[in-house]
Each structure stands twice: as C-alpha cells, then as structure tokens.
Symmetry: C2
DNA sequence: ATGGTGATTTGACAAATGTCAGAGCAATCG
DNA sequence: CGATTGCTCTGACATTTGTCAAATCACCAT
C-alpha cells in the first residue's frame, strides 16, 4: 500500500527532524509549511509510531537479583522492578517495563502470540506505538462470550494496533458447554489452521492466572469460584491461556480443560521467546508452576517476587542435589 | 555486568523522561539534581543508545518503484532513494537510509555479518547508537595488511560500537601470496571456526564491488588495475566480500579467489536476511550479478538504479519467457 | 591540613518547541 | 450558488529545553 500524500508529509518531516537532526524551522522551510505545522506533524509521527522513541530497560535487567534469577531458573532474561524506585508505584511500573522489554524483542516480520488478562491489557495500554508493519499478532486462546473488560480479542487487537501490525483473532469461544462440541470446533478447518499457526510464532506475551476466587477465569464466568476451588484441590495451580496447569506446569487432565479452545501448550512451549509478566505477588505459586512447565524464557516481576522465586529454587536445589 | 552507579542515573533520567513523559524539571526533582544535569544526561543517553530514536523508513520503501522491484526481482524489501527529495543529496542519503533500515532489522540476539568498503563504512558512520547488547557483529572477510581507510575490521568494530554489541574480527589477511598458504590458514582452527560461524548469522550487511579501475580491491592493493581488467575479460563482474563473482553471481574459478580468506559464498547466501546497499550507479552490472547470485534479500538503491534494474529484468523475462 | 586538578553540577540566559485561537480552504449539502 | 462543515494551517505567545561560564565537589599528592 502506497502512502497517502497526507501521511507522506508527516514521514518527511519526521525523517528530516529525527534522522537528519534539522530544527523544526529548517524542516518547515524545506517543506514549505509553517513551523507550527511541523510541530504538529512531529507529534503525530510520535503518536502513530512513525517515529519510535525507546529508553533502554537495562535499568531493570542489570541488577544483581535479575542476574541471579536468570542463573538459578535458567531464564534468558529477567527484568526486576524494584519497589523503591523514586516514588514510582511498582504495580503500574510492571506493565510499562514489560511493554518496553516486549518492544525490544519485537522486530519486523515477527509472529507474536498474545494471551489475555488484566496484566496483558495494561501492557497493551501503556505500550508506545511502533512501526512493524509486517508483524502479525495472534490470539492464543478463544474468546469470552460475556462482556468482560480484558477480552482476548481486545488484547490482541490493541497490541496489533500499537505495532501497526496485523492482528488475527480466533473466532471461537474460549469455553464451550460440552467436550464434544469443543472437539468439533477445534477440528473446524478455520480454527484448526489458526491453532496450528501458533507453533510458528517466535514471540509470546502473557501472564499466568492464579487459582483462587480472584482468578480471571472466575471473574469472566468460565468457572464458578467453587468449581475452581475444587479443581485447586485436585492440584490445579495456574492458568495459561485459559488452561489449568498443575504445580509442575503440566496440563491438568480435567473436563474443564477439554471444553476449551486454546493454544496447544506444547506449541506454546515451543515458541522461542516467551515473555511472562506478573504484576501481583499473589500469583507466586502459579508463576512457579509456569516456570517449571517451561512457559517462561523472559520474565518481568517485582523485586519481592524475584526474591521469593530465588528462595524457592534455592530450597528446591538443596532438597534435590 | 552491573551498571556503574554513574550510568545508573543516566538510565533513570532517560526512563523517567522518555518512558514516563515527565518534563526535565520533574525528572530533576525526582532525582534531586538540577534540570541542567538532566538535560546533559538525556543528551548522553541519546548519544550512547540508552535512548534510541528511529524514524520510519517507509518513506523510501512505500514507493511504486520499490514495490515493482520487489515483485520483479523477488526481493523481501527494497528502499528507493529518490533524487528529488527536498535538496537532500541521494549519495549521502543512501547510507542514512541503509543505516535506518539496518537498525529496523537488527534485534536483541542478532548475529550480524559485515563486509567492507566505502559504502559500509559510511553506513557505520551515520548509524545512530542503539542498545542491543547481546548482538554479535562478525567480520565476513580477512583484513587488509596495508593501511586503508575502510578496512574490514574497522567496519565491523564501528558497527559493533554503535550497537553496543560484541564485535568479532577475523584475524587473517584478506589476500595471501600463495594458494597453499591461504588453504593452510583457512584450516587453522581459530580461523576455520570463525568462518564456520558465519553460517549462523541471521543478518548480513554489505555492498557489492565493481570490476573496474576504481574497484576497492584495486584501491586497497589486493590486485592491480591490469590484473583485475584481465579477470574482467574472463567474466568477473562483481566483488562480494573480496571475492570475484561472474555475471550469474557464481564464484569465479581463478587463482585470485583461491588466495583469499573470506566467507564461503554459500554460507553468505544462506543468511536469511542479506541487506545490499549500493550508492554508486556505476556498480550496476555488479549489482545485477549479486542479485542473480542470490546475495540480496533487502536492497537499498537510488531511483535511477532501481529503474535500470527493472528495465533489465523486464527484458530478461521477455527473452526467456 | 592544603592546594591543585579534573570532572561534575548549577544558575541564568538564549534558543527551540508546544499550543491554541482564529484564519483559510476544500468538499459537501440544501 | 452560497452556506455549512470539517479539516488543516498559521501567527503569536507560553513553556520547555539546550548551553555555557562559573561554582562546587571529590580526589589526590604534597
């Protein structure tokens, strides 16, 4: 698609200003427009991702705690958000760091799998706009029927919009009333094709869900709190793309899981870079399960969570030397 | 490596200013320093790649000519630098566009092969600093013994410096006096290992050399103008990483080529993304040979060169329907 | 202690940038 | 055909940012 003449001037202004370091009045003279227009165009260029400005996330990854976590848990990269950072609330900072870290890993041509949840939605919300037109953003799990604030398709589409990339939604419900219907839908060519495409992703972005009454699968109505509690008794420890996993990160063998339309967990594990973002400390057990299950290669967590993980792995390695 | 406390404040200032969009005076208050210091730190952050600012190169790739070239020659992406762009000299613009396009393709963890020449050096020179610490920049061919302005190791190291990445030089001469010595050196473990590592690259950046008296292999003293002219008679059409190729882009079977220490051309062809940058229109034949030989997936050229290539491919496809 | 040295930080000013009300202009509609 | 609507563009002003000489600080050798 050729640039509209209208956008062309925004690109030109951005190129001259940011790449050639001309001043706004020089750009204005070159393009025969007023300097005020140049300023407007440049803002538009920043807001739409024609110009991308990214600050390094080293501040969060170059940290003793982060290094120790990488080594102990065998992760590729860890970002630790420290509580005491100049009055910035870690809860709001986690999605910001995650968005920056994510953007550092995205590149032209990437295929990105995205799950859903409050955390993922917040990440999308604070993500700055970028220009990766030939990237593709895939939805990792089916949709919720009920209106819910952080729907899978919303997360996927919002991230695609921020990247100026193509978003591909999975047009199937997350949960169906019967196992057989779920199986039928899963084998529908359109759906099967899309689920298969997930294994071609090179990047995944998700959080893990907890197994308690605040879990998003309860909030969105997929399960009642009592049903989830019962599954918790049976060993359910976390939620990945809607699916329940046990403490070792293996798919639970239960009717609920069989009623879902979601990414095959082995396909998810096969994605080379899996960014896990956890904002709430209450998700500790779920996160540990996700790490054991091989769902994490890149991790964004709070310092307190990092310390707890480190302690857990230390005791683990002592008991199983 | 943990950040020095000194750099830490630069990172913090950059993070607050660019990611959180605070004003300089707000950043100053948060960090308990003067606003002037904040301004200084921010400049430092921009100059060192802690903050990267990139304008989209769409202006050059979203162009009818570029699209037609992609289709006709089967290339992944083409950037065309149009002559009439607001008094910007295309000769200086080519390296700028190439540097931006290159940076859009680089990502954390990339392994990048770099050849040498005036064009590549100019690209390195105008390239803005970036923060891709875990990238690796490899030298694709041996070094010149004689002092020369655009040495392979300089190109490699300068690009590595700009990216804050690791640069790996090939500590061998480009050309040796005898074929047997070249063979011996090639099989030295240290060198053999490095040459083998080239096939693991995921990105290559180079230009093609012409076969005439201005060729860089003549200028750097690897061959005399007469010797090169004689090889030209035998069919030599272009130069890739010091090696002579014929009009079809195949390695010339000649003593000169056997005396070289350089990347195996099949390994180069196997690199998934090969960015070819040609600034001079006189390199037309050499470029056509390089394209035929499969050395190009991404191309940066002038509009006039693009038109000539398009014409050539049109006549080719007419004669061989 | 003390003076020197180089690097860092600051205050004050100059320069550049952001903003917004109103002008201008093109397309659309009655 | 003129009025209306919805744009973009501009000029003028307010705000923000860049710069640099001078001050301060940290460190070191005497």
């Amino acid at each position: 698609m050729i640039l509209r003449a209208n956008d062309q001037i925004v690109h030109k202004a951005a190129w001259l200003y940011y790449t050639h370091n001309l001043r706004q009045d020089e750009v204005a003279r070159r393009l025969n427009i007023s300097r005020a227009s140049v300023a407007t165009y440049l803002r538009k260029a920043r807001e739409t991702g024609i110009v991308s400005i990214a600050a390094s996330t080293q501040l969060f990854s170059d940290d003793i705690l982060a290094r120790r976590l990488e080594d102990a848990l065998g992760l590729d990269a860890v970002w630790v958000v420290t509580e005491d950072r100049q009055a910035l609330d870690p809860a709001t900072e986690i999605p910001v760091v995650a968005a920056s870290a994510f953007l550092e890993l995205v590149q032209s041509g990437s295929r990105i799998g995205v799950a859903w949840g409050r955390t993922v939605y917040h990440i999308a919300d604070v993500m700055s706009y970028a220009d990766v037109q030939d990237a593709t953003v895939l939805q990792l799990c089916g949709n919720l029927g009920a209106p819910y604030n952080y729907r899978p398709d919303q997360c996927t589409m919002e991230i695609a919009r921020r990247l100026n990339a193509q978003g591909i939604n999975l047009y199937a419900p997350l949960i169906l009333s019967s196992e057989s219907l779920a199986a039928d839908i899963r084998s529908e060519p359109v759906i099967a094709e899309q689920l298969a495409a997930i294994s071609a992703c090179d990047l995944a972005l998700y959080s893990v869900g907890s197994v308690d009454k605040d879990s998003h699968i309860v909030r969105c109505g997929a399960l009642t709190a009592d049903e989830l509690a019962a599954l918790g008794e049976e060993g359910a420890t976390g939620v990945i793309g809607g699916q329940l996993i046990d403490a070792d990160g293996q798919l639970m063998d239960c009717a609920y899981n069989r009623r879902l339309i979601s990414a095959d967990l082995d396909a998810v594990r096969a994605i080379p870079r899996r960014i896990m973002v956890v904002a709430e400390d209450s998700k500790f057990d779920a996160l540990a399960a996700a790490i054991r299950g091989g769902f994490v290669s890149h991790l964004v967590v709070t310092a307190s969570m990092a310390r707890r993980l480190l302690d857990l792995w230390d005791t683990q390695s002592q008991t199983t030397p």
